[in-house]
Point group: C2
């Protein structure tokens, strides 16, 4: 008999009398209906900021990373920064092209994990997912630490509160994201567009100023003749590779656009492609123009001023505009973590859906985001900040590894995808070959970049990835194994069901044990309930000095409720042990598990519990220690008696 | 029907399968039978060390306290140390005499609390009890801190671990005392007797050496002429009173002997009187002789060496004997805390028995001591050490206040006791008057001492007592009020009982709600149990994307168990809210509280719980928020299904 219950009062989103719900809804906003998912989705102008902020923010440091790597050989190699930047832009173009095809094939979110799962098997998919998750956690920690460092360098008195400020920053980001993807996108939007405008202006201005050669200045950088000599020197190759790897940090965050298709307005693929294209163009232009400007201005990386700050100072002087842009850049570096908050919970949810992660991560919260995933990310990032204090910066080298692992795996997967398409055939077989080649080229390029960055950054910490990724995968395997085993064990067979066909009459003779200390109202309540369940109710009284057992026996007998009264002696004054021994003896005698009915007096305030013995709880705990596997499925019923305020 | 159950397996003291019990018994020894209480009791030679160590240890610093107070006026008043010590010994004699009468009247333990309760009312008894408890906590903190300071002054590298060492010391003492009073007494016995022998030797040797005058040395102390001048100077009075108050610290711990009568061998009173007498003699002799010796040796208190150490150095030189006695004294100061551990839990237990303290403190542990009281004392003393770090020393002035409050109240109570005896008459009426006078004199003397010490130490921290004592009393009143109200509320009336006469047949139509997500074994188990309890079993299924509601409906219908199936929609994706709303609607419809049967899958290891949603727990929590007072007594039955190891 199925009763389609009327939708009781569920028009209201706020439950009654639940103080936490009120606080929750105040902090995070009114719950959103499942059906309003479409309304929450993001168009191009809202989608670009939140999904691209991570990648765009990297122009604030990518050029500097290249120059730092080159500076090992003095300023003589600085001229190489431009060809290296061009190589990176080519790589970026290939990645963007590849991902444009990927989102078409997987419009609902085709990140490295999904593609690897479908085409490369579960191990590859877990490698991709764990590399990305490490990256996202790092992004949050590093971004927030950078933001806090910007604050503490202006207010040194806050320096010893850095860690607390970082955790506060992470929690604020988590909070914004828990309010929903739209709120989060709206929040970052103005800053991102201001940042884009600002960077484009800097780039334009930088390209328009005369080059050092033009103004007749002797270039501090090597002439092209000496540059060529250098290039022929084999010892320079690692330096150049390292510079390339440093610049590749510019490409983190591209993955998020492919992965988060489902949060975009329909058609997902078209919006995602537009965002990818815009990101590619903007990032390429900004990165190249800033690298060229830095070279033209003869700038060199300094310990205490960022390269970008030097560029701005050189172009606009050190006044108000400089300060304002510095604040904007600090804010963008901080908010870059938002891309991680938008994508990591989505990735965790996919893993949870497939049984690799705890399934709670797949729960969609009040505001249609994966709230537990957001909290999980905030927790891990905070832990990282707390454990490493200010040293999170040292983990930046790990970034590129994770990104390029994911890139390579997703592009490689796409090659197999197009091969499948080609095999299953159809009209467009020719186009599949071309598409496969685009992705193949992407896979090759990013694979190469992966090897280069890995080699370049191995000693700096990249080897940690070789430890962390397998650990995460082992964890996933353990979880999957647990879920699989649980599902198997919980599977119902017909024989199991028929063994459980018990009807009402069966229970009449089931022994029910009610331990009491004295016959107060709570005890009467429990006994009354026990009598409803069976005709074999046994009142257990432990005879120790503290309790007046004789009085209790008289009181229970006076009820005339036809109860069995069992008095247990306890030479060692334990209340619990005699009861447990008695329960086991009843189990043995009746050959089934006795049901335990425990009276429980519940005080008005939780802290009043310290004034009560909580014997019931202790019995339950002691039982769980003393029982054998077969007897563990015992049913224990707490009959509460609520005290009133006095 | 009363079944005197056979004493199932309780000959064994160790339960099966309880790993904690095994650890507990390894650490604290085998449980002792209630009937072996007499065997655990202490005779004179074991009782003296444990009950007197606190008082005896004070000779290590009492003389110094007098001299420090006198040194405010330079060395000119040092000659007064002897008359002051004599005054203190007279006070001690009066206290010992009073308590000798007290233990006769209350052989089972007649501390200030019991006597004040019987003769002065509950407020006075709480004042006495809380002063003493504060004293005991201070004793533990201060003794252990002193012991640790002795260690760190030899091993300065341990200095920054002082607090940890203090807590470790407190825990060690708690551990020894948890092993039982006999073990604790046996442990301190050799040290106490060695200390007594050592102090008597020092005293004897000190009295036998020639006085400064005899050896013709010019005494650095003032001649009796100038002393008289000083005495006439009114400004000197506060200094002298302060010196007297300082010396009174010698008398802490006498109370413990009167209070702990019940741990002594029978007849309690005789053993207690012997111990009191021995303590009085030993303490008086040791204190006087050391004070005289210090005077004769022209010693003055130093910052970095204790007076007693100077005495020993002067008599025996600074070699091995000096070092060995120093170690012994440090050990005795540390172990002085044992008196507090022997008596404070007993006092707390009395308060708990009378409903002023949480009743758990009245539970007698495996080793026949009040284990929770011991832990409680250790916890509070550790907190004090942690909060005040090394500054616990500053709290020493509070000692004497607590002791003299208790002394005065107990003696005053005894005066009323003898008056009662005199009124009720009998043969010994004359002796009652004399006894009353002895106690009256004791009360007068200790009352005077109380006022002097209070005045002298007020600014040094004695005012804290005026804050702490009322706070403790308020806490006691709150507890008593809670217990009284609880007992009243839980009292059963005939009408209550008759309203609970429900028999087996009553429950058949009681609605039972079983929320399930899918029909796994755990769900089947819960449904089967629910069917035993009622014919109105309602299976509740929440229809949200994550769960396949349609499949679950089909599965439940396939059981053909005549169940009502309720499908609830949930536009906001909450699983909990629709269930709770449904429960309330059933309550309303059936006009009684629906019983909730919750399937619960229990994993093998507790940490595997992170992989499960624990929906049951959440439902229970949410229900407790959303229910009204009337509906709180709902019965919720968890039907466990235990997963097996895979």
């Amino acid at each position: 008999m199925v009763l389609k219950s009327a939708n009781i009062s569920l028009k209201r989103a706020l439950p009654d009398n639940d103080p936490w719900a009120v606080v929750r809804h105040f902090l995070f906003g009114h719950p959103l209906r499942t059906s309003s998912q479409e309304k929450e989705s993001l168009g191009f102008f809202l989608g670009l900021p939140i999904l691209a902020i991570d990648a765009l923010s990297s122009v604030a440091y990518a050029t500097e990373e290249i120059l730092i790597a080159l500076s090992v050989a003095g300023t003589s190699l600085y001229g190489l920064s431009i060809p290296i930047a061009i190589a990176i832009v080519i790589l970026l173009t290939s990645v963007i092209a590849s991902y444009t095809q990927t989102v078409q094939a997987y419009p609902d979110g085709g990140g490295a994990y999904t593609i690897a799962k479908n085409h490369l098997g579960s191990t590859a998919s877990l490698v991709a997912a764990s590399s990305l998750l490490i990256d996202y956690i790092l992004t949050v920690s590093v971004s927030v630490t950078a933001g806090v460092r910007a604050i503490t360098s202006s207010y040194p008195s806050l320096l010893d509160k850095s860690t607390s400020l970082c955790v506060l920053g992470i929690l604020s980001l988590a909070w914004i994201n828990l309010r929903g993807i739209r709120e989060s996108a709206k929040f970052v939007m103005p800053f991102v567009y201001a940042f884009i405008a600002c960077m484009l202006m800097i780039g334009g201005l930088g390209l328009s100023i005369p080059s050092p050669q033009e103004i007749g200045q002797s270039a501090p950088v090597a002439s092209s003749a000496s540059l060529t000599t250098h290039l022929l020197d084999l010892a320079m190759i690692p330096i150049i590779l390292r510079a390339f790897a440093g610049g590749c940090t510019a490409m983190t965050g591209v993955e998020a656009i492919a992965n988060a298709g489902s949060i975009l307005r329909r058609p997902h693929a078209v919006v995602a492609q537009r965002i990818l294209l815009a990101l590619g163009l903007l990032l390429g232009m900004m990165f190249l123009s800033i690298t060229i400007t830095a070279y033209r201005l003869n700038l060199t990386p300094l310990e205490n001023e960022s390269l970008l700050s030097q560029v701005i100072r050189a172009l606009w002087g050190g006044g108000f505009i400089h300060n304002a842009t510095q604040i904007l850049i600090a804010l963008i570096l901080f908010l870059a973590a938002n891309t991680a908050f938008a994508d990591a919970p989505r990735l965790s949810a996919m893993l949870a859906r497939d049984g690799w992660f705890p399934k709670q991560l797949y729960i969609i919260g009040d505001r249609l985001v994966f709230s537990k995933g957001i909290l999980f990310l905030a927790l891990l990032a905070s832990l990282l900040v707390i454990v490493f204090r200010g040293q999170v910066h040292a983990l930046i080298p790990l970034y590129a590894i994770g990104v390029f692992s994911a890139f390579t795996l997703s592009q490689a997967g796409m090659v197999l995808y197009w091969r499948n398409c080609w095999r299953t055939g159809g009209n467009h077989r020719g186009s599949f070959i071309i598409k496969g080649m685009v992705n193949g080229f992407g896979a090759f390029m990013t694979g190469l970049a992966l090897m280069v960055t890995f080699e370049a950054k191995f000693a700096e910490g990249a080897f940690l990835i070789l430890i962390a990724v397998p650990l995460i995968i082992l964890f996933c395997l353990w979880i999957k194994r647990h879920y699989t085993a649980t599902t198997e064990q919980l599977d119902v067979s017909n024989s199991f069901i028929s063994s459980r066909i018990r009807t009402f009459a069966h229970s009449q003779e089931r022994p029910i044990i009610v331990p009491i200390s004295r016959l107060h109202r709570g005890a009467v309540e429990a006994i009354a309930f026990a009598r409803e369940m069976s005709r074999d109710v046994r009142i257990v009284i432990v005879d120790i000095e503290r309790y007046n057992a004789q009085q209790t026996i008289i009181d229970v007998e006076a009820l005339q409720w036809d109860l069995k009264i069992i008095v247990l002696s306890s030479p060692y004054r334990s209340i619990i042990r005699p009861i447990i021994d008695y329960i086991h003896s009843v189990d043995k005698e009746s050959k089934k598990l006795a049901v335990l009915v425990l009276p429980e007096t519940v005080p008005v305030h939780w802290w009043e519990n310290i004034l009560h013995n909580k014997t019931s709880e202790t019995i339950v705990k002691a039982l769980s220690w003393s029982e054998t596997i077969e007897s563990q499925a015992r049913i224990i019923i707490n009959v509460p008696y609520y005290l009133e305020k006095n």
